[in-house]
Every structure is written in structure tokens, then in C-alpha cells.
């Protein structure tokens, strides 16, 4: 968390410096770059807030606790990057292409390089999470993963910018459109897995790490118990990756020993790792 705080402050410092320089020298490109940096650090601040707030204990309104904030912030990061960065980079590429002139002035190289340094620093902090597909064991995993991808995507964008300038100096005409197009595509494909994983958790999808065959097997096992006539409404979902919640409805004949059956069911699903389980037993 401290590393994230450090990164955010570094970003903000760079952005204010750029803004000041841009104002004094009258170069609008620097000002807009500063704003983009500020926007990025705003997003990172949200992730920081999510990290901090998710430590709180569950209370009577947030009955499952605040761990889901991690997932939400990962999803927001991913959406912003997917929707926004790829799209806006494409628009910028279009812009440059149509104008037949690069919008990025040459003095922006310096800012691109500094930005790249800052971002690489960030990647180093989160190097454990620098992968595209990650298995999430805890809630914070998702958040850290998304932050790392944020920083990686930003550095890819800086690399793209630098490459653009280099190509432009070489005389390649539509370098900007090409590079930005490539950057936006790669960012898109980079962020997709996090987007889908966090989206899946938020959409109350069945936990992906528990195979449905196991659940079907248990269903049948429970149906075969003595006096149980019907098992229905078996639903499972994840609060955060690693914390699975389930519920079940059992119907049985009178005289069913529900205490023992409930214990048995709890034990079964506990083997799968589902500790938060509720079984409703009804007599017909």
C-alpha cells in the first residue's frame, strides 16, 4: 500500500511540474499531458482507497465485509482502460492520421520518458502481479493485478509515444496512427482477462475454480440421503475470489433428521472450500 501511495504522489508531482512548465512556456501539449497524468493518478487513488477501505470489518449493512471493493476497483480499472484508453488512443491515432501531422510535439518526448520511468518503477513494485492471466487466491490479488496492469499499460503507451517520435524523425509519415493503434490493441488484449474475471465475480457467476461436475455430484449425493425427497435451488457465488457462498433448499419427509443432514451437507461443501453455506430444510 505504501508503494502505491508513493507511486501516486510521484505521478502527481510529475503532473504538477509538467502543468507549471506548460503554463509558463505556453505549450499546450504539456498541459494536456499533465491532465492525463492527473486523471491516471485519480484512478490509482481510487484503487488505493479500495485497498484501505477493504480492511474494515463487516458491519450490519455490508454484511459480507468490504473485500468486494477490491473486485470493484479492479473492474473499474479494467473498464477504464478497456473502454477508455484503447478508445481514446484510437481516436488520437485517427486524429493524427487525418491531420497528417503529429499532434504530439517534440518536446513531449521528455515527458514521455519521465512517465515511462515512473511507470517502470511502479511495475517493479508490483512485479509479482505482472502477468496477463493470474489465478486469484485472495481478494487483494485482483486489485494489485489491475494496478499493475494499469501501470504496464501506461508504460506501453509511453513506449508507443517514444517510438512514434523516433519513427517520425525517421520520416515515416503515419507513424503515430500505427503506433497508437498498436498500443490500443495491445492494451485491450492485456486488460481483457482482468475485466472478465472481475466482471464474473460482480455478476454473481458460479465460482470458476469449482467444477460444476463436483457440484452435480454432491447434489446427487444429497438427494440420495434417507428421507430426502428433493434438493433444489443450489446456488453458489463468490464474494471475492476465494470466499464462496452457497445456499440450498432441501425437502424431505416428516421425521427426517435434519440436524444430522444439515451437518452432513455442511461437511460436504466444506470439503470444496465453501464454508459459508445455508441449508433450508422443509417438510412436505
Amino acid at each position: 500500500m505504501k508503494s502505491l501511495l508513493f507511486m501516486i504522489s510521484l505521478n502527481l508531482a510529475c503532473s504538477t511540474v509538467e502543468f507549471a512548465i506548460g503554463l509558463f512556456t505556453g505549450r499546450i501539449g504539456l498541459v494536456s499531458d499533465a491532465f492525463h497524468l492527473a486523471l491516471g493518478s485519480g484512478l490509482l487513488t481510487f484503487s488505493l482507497f479500495a485497498m484501505a477501505a477493504s480492511q474494515r470489518k463487516p458491519d450490519h449493512v455490508y454484511t459480507y465485509g468490504f473485500q468486494r471493493l477490491n473486485v470493484l476497483s479492479a473492474f473499474t480499472n479494467a473498464t477504464v482502460f478497456l473502454l477508455f484508453m484503447s478508445f481514446s488512443l484510437t481516436v488520437e491515432a485517427l486524429h493524427a492520421f487525418i491531420e497528417d501531422e503529429s499532434e504530439h510535439k517534440h518536446y513531449l518526448v521528455v515527458s514521455a520518458v519521465t512517465n515511462l520511468m515512473v511507470n517502470l518503477n511502479g511495475v517493479w513494485f508490483f512485479r509479482n502481479y505482472a502477468r496477463i492471466n493470474l489465478v486469484y487466491k485472495k481478494a487483494e490479488d485482483m486489485n494489485y493485478h489491475s494496478i499493475c496492469l494499469h501501470v504496464v499499460a501506461d508504460s506501453i503507451r509511453c513506449v508507443g509515444l517514444i517510438w512514434t517520435f523516433w519513427l517520425l524523425s525517421l520520416g515515416v509519415n503515419n507513424a503515430e496512427a500505427l503506433c497508437m493503434g498498436l498500443v490500443s490493441c495491445s492494451v485491450f488484449m492485456l486488460v481483457m482477462p482482468v475485466f472478465k474475471a472481475s466482471g464474473g465475480v460482480l455478476l454473481q457467476m458460479a465460482p470458476p475454480n469449482i467444477p460444476s461436475s463436483a457440484l452435480t455430484k454432491y447434489w446427487e449425493q444429497i438427494s440420495c440421503l434417507k428421507d430426502v425427497t428433493q434438493v433444489s435451488e443450489a446456488r453458489f457465488w463468490e464474494v471475492v475470489p476465494g470466499h464462496v457462498v452457497g445456499s440450498l433448499l432441501l425437502e424431505g419427509k416428516q421425521g427426517m433428521d435434519d440436524g444430522a443432514i444439515v451437518e452432513y451437507v455442511h461437511g460436504l461443501y466444506g470439503d470444496l472450500g465453501i464454508n459459508d453455506f445455508t441449508v433450508q430444510t422443509d417438510y412436505i
Binding site: L83, S88, M189, K196, A206, S247, L248, V279
Partner: protein, 591 residues
């Protein structure tokens, strides 16, 4: 909007540089290039259940490899063609189509979704036809589709005329409409998706797509607003030349179309209350079935309501909230275009709590304080009175309506057990005594429709802002008016989006729904005080969608109590508190 701004700047620069021969091609290039990405995003949002029989045999991983290869290759095709001044439009469109297909294939969630439980279809057009059929089958969604067509039509007209006249303003307005046209199908498709039944992958169904799309829309709008503010700052520092010749006519045309859209949604919303007194609605049919759909469309414009919904929260016991509501309403009504000024109270749909016989339950009409169970909507000066009876616990519905103008059966069958997108959720209480209509679940915003509505609203405000700033520039010469108006409008947009953002985030975070908090506390204390109950444990209550409230609880009772009776009593209490989907585990403990 950013596209509009950027294209605006770029076209402006083009003008100033007098690159006349290039202009035509420049304008032509915007549209087709944005099309692939539009379709790509549509594909991402739309979960298409399409299975290509022959391609499937290759296996998903291979498909992904091939499609990613295609993506990269196809990106180079336009890049290469850029080197030639005259490239073919058709090549780009083809590229866009292939990109869309590739991105769809790239998506394992969707491919696995395809495999699990949805009907497989070999034909390519099936996944497009099914939602279209679904959309056309409901009257309300047909109207939305109609508005979408109108919008798209006007957009095409604008694009064509902008190419012919090379006007900056027209281009940017056309891009505005493009964005609108993008948001609408996404929303409609999300609606379609959320109706699909539950399966092994989505145990509770797919209702959450609505909320998620509303959240994404809200995030997107916030970011767009922030970006526009930033660009306006830049513009202030570095003022640009703006040609205002045809801008005025175009932006007024744009405002008209957007207001038509607002009216559409407003109409829907009126229908929900059955009282569109000022509009002449000629919709005499009654919908016994389409309620949920209606409701989902109806409350598109609940953005402002949300504000006082939260204010309403505290108004249980005090009638002084009357003032609240009116002031809130007026404030929020400013957001609406000119048309909406007359609908002063249209913000209040039944989102008042009627716990006990409070007169203030109906904050709508100062003269007409409905009594317990009546929610009186007075729209304009009419008393279109809706009487919703909230008595029927058994059927979960039975809202009687006295609509003079309409005989909709809307409000009947409000509660569908599963897919009630429903906005008016009057939760049924069996009143412990007499006829007290109980809590009203308010805060039922159809997030999806609200997101769409906010898009349309933002566009309207943008057009209005353009008109205002154009007038200012033309007659006063204040170049600073343009960015100033943009800043003001984006601040308005952001502040209107924040309630949606907060509400959908709360649902996504599994929070106890605000409307039910108090009732739940009372129910729990009631249960704990029951004879035979030792403890209530592990109570988790959360919203699946705005209207589905799900709860799980463990109940510990003493050894002597009758389990079945206790179970039924407790579930009765909890049902009355609003939890429709309850899983109750009862355990005997020895003290």
C-alpha cells in the same frame, strides 16, 4: 463526446490550414474508422450465443490464436492503405466487421457462456434475430428501437450534410449522435440478456448485467465529463477559431431530436404511473405481461428521483419532508429540457414509505394527500390518481389502478419472482393491522435504462450548451463561452451521474438495500424477541438486481420449539421486510 471535441478541433484546424482537397477525405475517414470499434464494443457487450460448427472443431485456444492473428494482420491493412491517399471505404468496413468477429471469438467468457445452457444455433444470424424478435415483441422496447432508428437516421443525415458542407459543428454533432446510437443498443441488449433464465453458470440468472452496464455507463460518463473539463481548460488557454455559420441550425436540430428522445423516455415513465395527463397518449392497450419490461424502461429518468429517494429515507415519520421533495424536485427538474417543466411532480413515483398512516407518504400533491395506500401522482394539474393497493401478500401484487386515461394493467404483477426489473416495487406487506400499506421499496432504478437515459440527457445538455455558446459567440464574441459552457455542462452531467454510480456500486458491493434497512432491523429485533429463538446468526441480505432481494440466515432455536412453525413464522416476518428470496437454516441448540 470526446470524439466530437476532437473532431471539432481537427476540423477546425483543417479549416484554418485551408487544406481543401484533404478535407473531404478527412471527414470521410472518421466515420468508418469509428465503426469497427463501435462494433467491437458492441460485440463485447453483447453476449452472442453463436456457435460456428466448423470453426468450433478447432478448439477454443486455436480459435483465439487465429483471431488474434487476424486482428493484428487486419490492423496493418488499413495502416498500409493509409499510405495511399485514396483508400477504399469498403476495405475498412470489411476490416471492421472482421475485427468485430475476431473480438467476439476472442472472448472465452462468451464462448463458455455459449456452451453452457443456451440454445445452440448454427446460423450466423440467429443471435441477431433472437434479440430483435424479443425487442419487437414488446411494445415498449419497440419504442426504444424506434427512437434509436430516428437517432440513427438523423445522424446519417447530419453526416451527409456535414460532408457536403464541411462544417465543423455538423461533424461534431453527428459524432454526438453516434455515441448515442452506441449507448442505446447496448442498453437494449443488456435488457435482453437479463431476461435469460438462470443456468449452471449464472445461478441467479443474469439480472446483474443491468446493474453492471449501468455502472459502466456511469463510470464512462464521469470520465468523459472529466475529459471535457480538461479539454475546455486547454481551450481557454489556447482559444480556437470556431465557425458558427451552420452550427446554430444544426445544434437546434440536434436539440430537437434529443428532446424527442427525452420525451420518449419520459413517456415511458409516465406510462408507468399511468398518468400522462398532459401528453396525449393513445395507448389504450393493457399489458398483462409486459410489466417488467415496461418498468424497466419506465424509470429511465430516475436520476433525479434518486436524490430525493435518499431524502425520502428519513421521512418515515415526519411529514415535514414535503418541502424537501418539492425543492428537490425543482432542482432536479432543471435538468430536463423545456418540456419537462410542467411536470413538477413527476419525480415522485411512489417512492415514499408509507409505514403507518402518514399523510406525508405522498409528497406529490400538496392538496391531495393520499391516504395510506394510495400514491397519488398529480402530474401537472391533473389528478391522475393511482391507487396502488399494497395489501396482497399472497399474490405479491394486486395493485388496483384507477386510471382514467389508460387501462394499463401495468402495475399488476409487479413482482415477478425472478426478473422484475421493476421500478415500482411496492413491497407487499401483510399489514399486521388493517390496511396499512407498508413500505415502499423505493430506489428501484433500472440501472440500465437510467444509464441510457443519462447518455441521452447528457447529449441534450451538450446540444443546448452548444446552442447557448454559439449564440454568445455570435452576438457577443466571447470565445471563452464555448469552453465555459462545456465545463458547466460537464459538471452538471457528472453530478447527475453520481447517484447512479453510488447506487449501482452499492448493489455490486452486496450492501443491504437502503430501502430495507430500517424494516430489516425491526424484523430482526422482532425475531430475536420471539419465544424460542436463541439467536439469529449469519444474516446476509443483498440485492441481486434492484428488485430482487436475497437473504440467508441461520436461526438458532431451543430444543423444544416446533421447527416448522418457527420456520414459517420467521420467514413470514422476513418476507414482509422485503426479502423475497430467503434461505433459512434452522438449528436446534441446547442451551
Amino acid at each position: 463526446m470526446i470524439l466530437a471535441e476532437l473532431s471539432g478541433t481537427l476540423a477546425g484546424r483543417l479549416f484554418s490550414k485551408e487544406k481543401n482537397p484533404n478535407k473531404r477525405e478527412g471527414c470521410v475517414r472518421i466515420w468508418p474508422m469509428s465503426l469497427p470499434f463501435l462494433s467491437g464494443f458492441l460485440g463485447c457487450y453483447g453476449k452472442v450465443s453463436m456457435i460456428w460448427g466448423s470453426v468450433r472443431q478447432l478448439g477454443p485456444k486455436r480459435i483465439r490464436l487465429i483471431s488474434s492473428f487476424f486482428t493484428t494482420v487486419l490492423l496493418f491493412v488499413p495502416a498500409v492503405s493509409f499510405y495511399f491517399e485514396d483508400f477504399s471505404l469498403s476495405a475498412l468496413l470489411l476490416c471492421g466487421l472482421l475485427l468485430y468477429v475476431a473480438i467476439r471469438e476472442l472472448d472465452p467468457v462468451y464462448s463458455s457462456y455459449m456452451e453452457s445452457g443456451t440454445e445452440s444455433s448454427e446460423s450466423f444470424s440467429m443471435p441477431i434475430m433472437k434479440p430483435i424478435q424479443h425487442v419487437l415483441s414488446e411494445r415498449k422496447s419497440r419504442k426504444i428501437a424506434l427512437f434509436l432508428l430516428i437517432n440513427a437516421g438523423y445522424m446519417v443525415v447530419e453526416f451527409v450534410s456535414s460532408f457536403m458542407s464541411n462544417s465543423l459543428g455538423l461533424i461534431s454533432d453527428a459524432c454526438h449522435m453516434l455515441f448515442d446510437c452506441a449507448a442505446l443498443p447496448i442498453g437494449v441488449y443488456a435488457l435482453y440478456i437479463s431476461r435469460l433464465p438462470a443456468n449452471s453458470q449464472f445461478n441467479y440468472g443474469r439480472g446483474r448485467f443491468d446493474i453492471l452496464s449501468g455502472y459502466v455507463n456511469a463510470v464512462f460518463l464521469v470520465l468523459v465529463g472529466a475529459l471535457i473539463v480538461l479539454e475546455s481548460f486547454e481551450r481557454i488557454l489556447d482559444p480556437q477559431e470556431i465557425s458558427t455559420n451552420s452550427l446554430l441550425t444544426v445544434s437546434i436540430g440536434g436539440v430537437v431530436v434529443n428532446v424527442v428522445g427525452l420525451i420518449f423516455f419520459h413517456e415511458e415513465h409516465h406510462h408507468a404511473h399511468g398518468g400522462s395527463c398532459s401528453h396525449s397518449h393513445s395507448h389504450p392497450d393493457s399489458h398483462p405481461h409486459d410489466h417488467h419490461h415496461q418498468h424497466s424502461y419506465d424509470h429511465g429518468n430516475h436520476v433525479e428521483h434518486h436524490e430525493f429517494i435518499n431524502v425520502c429515507d428519513g421521512c418515515h415519520d415526519s411529514c415535514s419532508s414535503h418541502e424537501h421533495h418539492h425543492s428537490n424536485q425543482h432542482h432536479s427538474n432543471n435538468y430536463h429540457g423545456e418540456d419537462h417543466k410542467k411536470h413538477e411532480f413527476h419525480g415522485h413515483h411512489d417512492h415514499d414509505h408509507n409505514q403507518a398512516p402518514h399523510d406525508c407518504a405522498h409528497h406529490h400533491d400538496p392538496q391531495d394527500h393520499g391516504r395510506k395506500h394510495d400514491h397519488v401522482h398529480s402530474l401537472d394539474n391533473h389528478d391522475c390518481v393511482h391507487h396502488h393497493d399494497h395489501h396482497d401478500r399472497g399474490h405479491k401484487l394486486a395493485h388496483g389502478h384507477n386510471h382514467d386515461l389508460h387501462d394499463f394493467a401495468h402495475h399488476h404483477d409487479h413482482h415477478h419472482y425472478h426478473h422484475d426489473q421493476g421500478l415500482h416495487l411496492h413491497s407487499h406487506y401483510s399489514e399486521p393491522k388493517g390496511h396499512l400499506p407498508q413500505k415502499h421499496k423505493h430506489g428501484h432504478i433500472d440501472h440500465n435504462m437510467e444509464g441510457i437515459f443519462l447518455h441521452v440527457l447528457a447529449d441534450t445538455m451538450g446540444s443546448v450548451g452548444v446552442v447557448v455558446s454559439t449564440l454568445l459567440i455570435k452576438y457577443e464574441g466571447w470565445l471563452v463561452a464555448d469552453p465555459a459552457c462545456s465545463i458547466f455542462i460537464s459538471v452538471l452531467i457528472i453530478s447527475s451521474v453520481i447517484p447512479l454510480l453510488r447506487n449501482s456500486a452499492e448493489i455490486l458491493l452486496q450492501r443491504v438495500p437502503r430501502a430495507q434497512e430500517q424494516g430489516l432491523k425491526k424484523a430482526i429485533s422482532e425475531i430475536t424477541n420471539m419465544k424460542g429463538v436463541c439467536r439469529v446468526q449469519n444474516l446476509h441480505v443483498w440485492c441481486f438486481t434492484d428488485s430482487d432481494i436475497i437473504g440467508t440466515v441461520h436461526l438458532h432455536i431451543t430444543a423444544e420449539t416446533d421447527k416448522a412453525a418457527m420456520e414459517s413464522r420467521v420467514s413470514l416476518v422476513l418476507h414482509d421486510a422485503g426479502i423475497k428470496d430467503l434461505t433459512l437454516q434452522v438449528e436446534r441448540v441446547v442451551q
